[in-house]
C-alpha cells in the first residue's frame, strides 16, 4: 500500500530543508535533501509553490532554474507567533483566545478609567 504523505507534513519537511540550508537552494537540492522520501520534482515544486503563496518562501531566478529561500528564520517565525499570542489588543483577542491574556493590564486600566 502506498502511503500518501499529507501536504502539511511535506511542507514542514521542505521548510526544514530550507532552514538548514545556508544559501538559497533549487528544487533539486530540496529533493536531494529529502531523498529518503522519494519525492517527484513536481511534488517538491508544488509544495514550494504553496509555501510561496503563504508568504513563507521567496524565489529568485538562477539560470534556468529558481533558487528558493525561507523569508525568515525558524526562530523569527516562533517569535512572531508568540507576539501574536501575547498581544492582547481587542483585534487579536478576536483571533485568538488565551489562558492568561484574558484581562490584560491595559484593558483593565482602560475600563477603570472609563468607569471612574
Amino acid at each position: 500500500m502506498v502511503i500518501v504523505p499529507r501536504l502539511g507534513e511535506l511542507e514542514k519537511a521542505v521548510m526544514e530543508a530550507l532552514w538548514s540550508a545556508d544559501a538559497p537552494v533549487t528544487a533539486r537540492d530540496v529533493q536531494d535533501a529529502l531523498a529518503d522520501r522519494h519525492l517527484a520534482t513536481t511534488t517538491v515544486l508544488t509544495v514550494l509553490g504553496r509555501l510561496e503563496r503563504k508568504g513563507l518562501v521567496t524565489r529568485e531566478r538562477a539560470g534556468r532554474a529558481h533558487r528558493y529561500r525561507s523569508v525568515a528564520s525558524r526562530e523569527d517565525h516562533v517569535a512572531t507567533l508568540m507576539r501574536d499570542a501575547l498581544d492582547a489588543t481587542p483585534d487579536r483577542g478576536a483571533a485568538l483566545a488565551r489562558f492568561l491574556g484574558s484581562m490584560p493590564a491595559d484593558e483593565r486600566a482602560a475600563l477603570r478609567d472609563l468607569l471612574d
Binding site: H77, G93, A95
Partner: protein, 301 residues
C-alpha cells in the same frame, strides 16, 4: 409614528450608554456568566435594531401604516416616481441616517471578521510548520519557546497550543486544567460571542458603553471557561496553573495585571453563589423580550 420613532431612539440610546455601563460594573454577572453573556448579546442586537428602526419608522411614516404596508408603498413610490406629499426633508434625512447606520454596523462587522480570519489563517499556517504535536494530548501542539503561554486558535480548523515554557512551569494536572479552559473557548465558540463586540467597540470608541461592553464580554467569556475547567479538574489545579503562568508571564510586572489575576483566582477559589433558577430563567426571558420589543415596535409602529 413620530412617537414610536422617538421611543425607539431613546430606547436604543439608553441601551448603548447607561444600561451598558451599569451592566459592565454590576457584580451579579460573575454569578451567571452565561446569562450575562446572553443579556449582552440581547442588548447589542436590540440597541442596534432600535436605532436603525427609529429612523425607518419616522422616515417611512408618510408611506402608510404599519411598516408592513409602508415598505411596499415606498418601493412602489420609488419605481413610479410618485412621492407622497407629506414626505419632507426630515423623513429623507431619517431614512438616510438609518441606512448609513445599518450599513456601517454590517460593514464593520464584515471587515473585522475578514481581518480576524486572515490573521488566524496566517497564524495557523505558521503554527502547523513550527509546532510539534504533543503525544500526551491529542490535538494539542507545542511551540518551542520558554515564555509560558497557552492559547487556542478558534475556527473550523481550530488549534490548541502550549509553549514549552508551560510544560516546564506546570505539573501535568495543571496543564490539563489549562487545556480544559482553552477547550471550553473552542467548543462554545467564544470567539464568535466576542467578535461583534470587538467590531462595534471599534466603530464607536467614543461611546463608552460600547467599550465597556467589549471588556465586560471578554471577561465573562473567561469566567465561563474557568467554570467549565473547574468542572473537569480541581479548583486548586486551575488556580495553581494561573499562578505559575502569571508569575512567569511578561505582563506580570504590571500591577493591574496582578490585580486582574487576583480577581480571577478569588472567583475560582471562592465562587460567588450562582443565581437561583428562577432568576436565571427570568434573565433569559428578559433577554428575549429585549430583542422582541424593538422588533414589535418597528413592525407595528
Amino acid at each position: 409614528m413620530a412617537v414610536t420613532a422617538f421611543a425607539l431612539l431613546v430606547f436604543g440610546l439608553l441601551l448603548a450608554e447607561p444600561v451598558s455601563r451599569r451592566l459592565a460594573t454590576a457584580e451579579w454577572p460573575a454569578r451567571d456568566p452565561v446569562g450575562a453573556l446572553l443579556l449582552w448579546q440581547a442588548i447589542g442586537l436590540s440597541g442596534g435594531l432600535a436605532l436603525v428602526g427609529s429612523g425607518l419608522v419616522y422616515g417611512l411614516g408618510p408611506f402608510g401604516h404599519p411598516m408592513t404596508a409602508a415598505l411596499p408603498n415606498a418601493v412602489a413610490a420609488a419605481t413610479t416616481g410618485r412621492w407622497p406629499d407629506e414626505l419632507g426633508l426630515g423623513h429623507l434625512l431619517a431614512l438616510l441616517a438609518a441606512l448609513l447606520l445599518a450599513l456601517r454596523l454590517i460593514a464593520v462587522l464584515i471587515a473585522v471578521m475578514v481581518r480576524t480570519l486572515r490573521t488566524r489563517r496566517r497564524h495557523r499556517d505558521l503554527l502547523d510548520l513550527l509546532a510539534t504535536p504533543w503525544p500526551a494530548v491529542p490535538g494539542a501542539r507545542v511551540l518551542d519557546h520558554p515564555v509560558p503561554v497557552a492559547y487556542c486558535l478558534p475556527g473550523l480548523r481550530s488549534r490548541l497550543v502550549l509553549s514549552a515554557g508551560v510544560l516546564d512551569a506546570l505539573e501535568p494536572a495543571a496543564v490539563a486544567a489549562v487545556l480544559a479552559h482553552e477547550r471550553a473557548h473552542l467548543r462554545e465558540r467564544h470567539d464568535l460571542v466576542v467578535l461583534p463586540f470587538v467590531a462595534w467597540g471599534a466603530t464607536a470608541p467614543f461611546v463608552r458603553g460600547m467599550v465597556c461592553a467589549q471588556l465586560a464580554v471578554a471577561a465573562l467569556v473567561e469566567m465561563r471557561a474557568d467554570d467549565v475547567a473547574t468542572a473537569c479538574t480541581t479548583r486548586s489545579q486551575l488556580t495553581g496553573a494561573l499562578r505559575s503562568m502569571g508569575a512567569a508571564a511578561p505582563a506580570a510586572a504590571l500591577t493591574s495585571f496582578s490585580v486582574a489575576l487576583e480577581h480571577r483566582l478569588d472567583r475560582i477559589l471562592a465562587p460567588p453563589a450562582p443565581l437561583s433558577v428562577g432568576v436565571r430563567l427570568l434573565l433569559r426571558l428578559g433577554a428575549a423580550a429585549l430583542v422582541a420589543a424593538p422588533v414589535t415596535a418597528i413592525l407595528l409602529g
